[in-house]
């Protein structure tokens, strides 16, 4: 039951993150980096929910691959887990940037510098969500359930 509680908390945190990425008044993506013109375009073009969905999918997908696809005693050390976190933290901003850039380009907008700065915060959010996802789903992994911290 304790493990299910972890999973539910993890999902709740992720849902809250997603909701806060869609709101106008307090938007989680406008707290660490803000540029009025850039952020207004992100909001109007409905990009925040997609960026959040990409971040969630890569973080939870990365954790799922580590615990259920890799799921090997050869890779059950904390640094193996950290390496996957690193991949998630690099992959997320790259995918988000490609998405941002394609939407801006299709609307004739130029926000290269702002996009790069903006994606820096997706590194942080992806890493945090990967940790949340890891502690939500690790319990059902047959070989990596003790990674990163033994329980």
């Amino acid at each position: 039951m304790k493990h299910i509680t972890y999973l539910i908390i993890g999902i709740a945190v992720t849902v809250v993150f997603f909701i806060l990425s869609c709101t106008d008044g307090f938007n989680i993506y406008e707290q660490l980096f803000f540029n009025q013109g850039f952020n207004d375009k992100m909001y109007n073009l409905n990009m925040y929910p997609v960026i959040a969905a990409i971040t969630i999918a890569v973080a939870w997908g990365g954790a799922a691959i580590y615990y259920y696809a890799i799921n090997s005693v050869k890779f059950d050390r904390w640094y193996h887990w950290l390496a996957v976190l690193g991949v998630v933290a690099v992959l997320t901003p790259v995918v988000c940037y490609i998405y941002n850039d394609s939407v801006f380009a299709s609307n004739g907008l130029m926000y290269v510098g702002e996009s790069i700065q903006f994606e820096m915060q997706t590194v942080l959010f992806a890493a945090l969500l990967f940790i949340v996802a890891s502690f939500s789903m690790r319990w059902w992994s047959s070989n990596c359930r003790h990674t990163p911290l033994p329980q």
């Binding site: 539910i8 106008d24 409905n46 799922a64 004739g108 789903m137």
Partner: protein, 484 residues
């Protein structure tokens, strides 16, 4: 652990991903299409028609957007567009009235046929007067109801068709003998126009606006002016909710001119004439904003114009986040009027400079009035100063396009950011414009001096209208809250 318990995490994770996907695509195709069109500025008739197709193509989903007979409810559509547009940054508006649900406006022309008007339309002249009236009629959409009347001592219906009027090369010749051309009874004419006006009607008086009542021999000019001023105030004060636009044109004049002292003289040269456009305030707003009527209020030949307003107007404003003059930092708060939060002065100068794009076009004031900062009052604790410049196409970039589109002027404010909270209030003073005084004369007994560009007693006539229709001290009022 039972197999069901083992499946639970997978079910929960799947539910999470589905919820995320649903949230991303949570809006229907109509809402998405409206948002896309507003953001990209694709607000054309074709776009609106495609929205209607979405509604009619899925009556099960959009049944509430249809009328009982299965047609698109344009009012509901306008409400939906307004709802989506107002949630955007900056809030956007799309005037869909021309595309359905609103009847065409009707036009009634009152063509003055007094002695002093005949020389404006001589065969040898440039025909500017006739062209102005023809353009006015032609700028109304085909099929609009158009009536033409001849006015002098009374109002007489024009006895021919509109097409015949448009092709008539000598309108005064073909209307010879209509009424008494020796004087013009403005009181009667304005009263009749205002009385006869029905909702959705635009009435236009074509006149030289020279007050020439019957028998002015021996009457002092001051007395005539005072009478003229009182008459204008009395007539227009009686009819509430009206809006009047006076447009000044220049035309070739060739023939006898009848001055106030009754001794006519020959004059050949330029003379001003006027179109006085009278409508209900909401109709005048529609005339100004509805693209079907573009050219009516902004005809290229208009030399000067002025809208006699009834009170303060709403002016659409957008804070420009990316603007060459911006200095310091601020963050626009949405949905609470204009609020700039987290304001920070420029690191070197300590000044905060921000700009607003505003649509001052609906005020129907000339650019000289709108761009002169001396015509504005700016109140604030930190002493902000204002500059106003018209928007030109060279200012548009891909990134600022959606802020500038539909706007006419950029209002730039600069001040020392000292107070933790400040309120900057901008008002445009409601005063008779300078061109009225400059176009007015106190004597017309000879064609000397500024005779070619002035009208006898114009200031008194328009001043009377101004006093009658003046709704407040300001034409518009914008307040900007500043927070550190």
């Amino acid at each position: 652990m039972t197999p069901n318990m083992r499946r639970l995490p997978i079910m929960l994770i799947t539910a999470l991903l589905l919820a995320a996907l649903a949230a991303c695509g949570g809006h229907g195709p109509l809402e998405k299409a409206v948002r896309g069109m507003l953001v990209s500025g694709d607000t054309t008739r074709a776009s609106y028609d495609s929205l209607c197709s979405i509604v009619t193509g899925d009556p099960g989903r959009y049944g509430d957007m249809l009328t009982p007979d299965g047609r698109v409810d344009h009012k509901r559509m306008a409400e939906l567009i307004e709802h989506i547009g107002s949630a955007l940054r900056p809030p956007m508006h799309w005037d869909t009235r021309p595309y359905g649900g609103v009847d065409d406006l009707s036009l009634t022309v009152y063509f003055e046929r007094s002695g002093s008007m005949v020389p404006y339309d001589q065969r040898g002249g440039g025909g500017q007067l006739k062209k102005a009236v023809n353009d006015l009629i032609n700028h109304f959409p085909a099929g609009s109801k158009v009536d033409i009347n001849i006015v002098n001592d009374g109002i007489y219906p024009y006895q021919h068709t509109v097409d015949e009027f448009l092709q008539d090369r000598d309108i005064y010749q073909s209307t010879a003998g209509t009424g008494d051309a020796s004087y013009t009874d403005f009181q009667l004419i304005f009263n009749k126009i205002l009385e006869a006006q029905r909702p959705g009607n635009v009435s236009v008086l074509v006149s030289d606006l020279i007050y020439s009542p019957q028998d002015t021999r021996g009457v002092s000019l001051d007395k005539i002016f005072n009478e003229e001023n009182s008459l204008a105030t009395r007539v227009f004060a009686r009819y509430k909710g009206k809006s009047v636009v006076v447009q000044q044109f220049m035309g070739d004049y060739s023939g006898k001119y009848y001055p106030y002292n009754g001794i006519p003289f020959e004059y050949q040269g330029k003379r001003p004439f006027y179109l006085v456009i009278i409508a209900d305030s909401d109709v005048m707003d529609q005339l100004a904003q509805d693209k079907r009527y573009s050219g009516v209020l902004d005809a290229p030949a208009v030399r000067n114009s002025y809208r006699f307003n009834q009170g303060t107007s709403e002016v659409e404003c957008r804070v420009l986040p990316e603007w060459k003059d911006n200095a310091g930092r601020f963050r626009v708060k949405h949905g609470e009027g204009i609020v700039l939060a987290k304001c920070d002065g420029d690191r070197q100068t300590g000044k905060l400079c921000f700009s607003l794009a505003a649509n001052l076009g609906t005020l129907l004031k000339d650019d000289a009035l709108l761009t002169n900062a001396a015509n504005y009052n700016v109140q604030s604790i930190d002493g902000y100063t204002l500059t106003v410049q018209p928007i030109d196409p060279g200012m548009f970039t891909a990134n600022n396009k959606e802020y500038l589109e539909g706007m006419t002027h950029v209002l730039t404010l600069v001040g020392d950011l000292k107070s933790p909270r400040d309120e900057v209030r901008i008002t445009l003073r409601n005063e008779l414009p300078a061109w009225v005084r400059q176009s007015s004369s106190t004597s017309d007994i000879s064609a000397t001096g500024s005779f070619a560009t002035t009208t006898l007693g114009l200031e008194q006539l328009l001043g009377g209208m101004f006093d009658a229709m003046r709704g407040g001290d300001s034409l518009f009022d914008i307040t900007i809250q500043l927070q550190r």
